[in-house]
Subunit: 140 residues, 2 copies
């Protein structure tokens, strides 16, 4: 099973400040407007590294829930690795056989899910390489 890195996820308190501070330090910039994903209680934005095309995703909780709790307990910082797959249902079933996995509409109109348990403490998300909803227009 060969999975490409889609993005590195970072949980933040303030999206605009995070984009500004990370952009100033690393020199990356947001690839599009932030997306409100109200069904997930988050707003997200992606920064692209011009040197190699890698993406960082900033995730800011907008409602009470596990991510807000994580932020309150651990503070801002690295949160997950996300891998791009062709068929999320097939890959998730192969990677976590017998588990119940919730597949949602994630960022950039793509289906996404988290594997149920971290691996060596690393939260792993899968996302489909191609958008299923409305392309790549920044609307939630």
């Amino acid at each position: 099973m060969a999975l490409s890195l889609d993005h590195v996820g970072v949980v933040v308190r303030d999206l605009d400040e995070a984009v500004h501070r990370f952009g100033m330090k690393i020199g990356w910039s947001a690839i599009r407007l932030p997306e409100r994903l109200d069904h997930l209680g988050v707003t997200i934005v992606y920064l692209r590294n011009g040197a190699d095309g890698t993406l960082v995703q900033f995730v800011c909780p907008t409602a009470p829930g596990p991510l807000r709790e994580h932020l309150d307990l651990q503070g801002e910082g690295l949160h997950h690795l996300c891998y791009a797959v062709d068929d999320i249902r097939e890959t998730a079933a192969a990677m976590a056989p017998g588990s119940e996995i919730t597949i949602v509409r994630g960022g950039r109109g793509r289906l996404a899910c988290f594997l149920p348990e971290p691996t060596v403490g690393v939260r792993i998300e899968l996302t489909e390489a191609r958008p299923s909803f409305g392309g790549f227009d920044g609307k939630a």
Copy 2:
């Protein structure tokens, strides 16, 4: 300033177990033998993603210090992002002007340093793209 992602760093309790579990789940394998970096109190190993060439570095503390404390407090998981640069002294001075930065021999015979403060909670390491010591032979 355009910096390429060199690796994603993950702090772990047991290197062999981490390689086994991450390899089983994601399908990556270690690119070389673990390296003991006794001057840093860590042993590290790199896994390469065959699909896109991205590296994950597992870091296991072998002595008391900040990394062992981090592991005891926060547990295993994502720890830092490392970017490859041509000239580490020049880049570190530009990214953290006026700060005292300790440049060490890091993994794969390359000079490495951490920026003094995390950015949006993300610890950022720099490493030189080319080895300065003994090439790439796995010996510390």
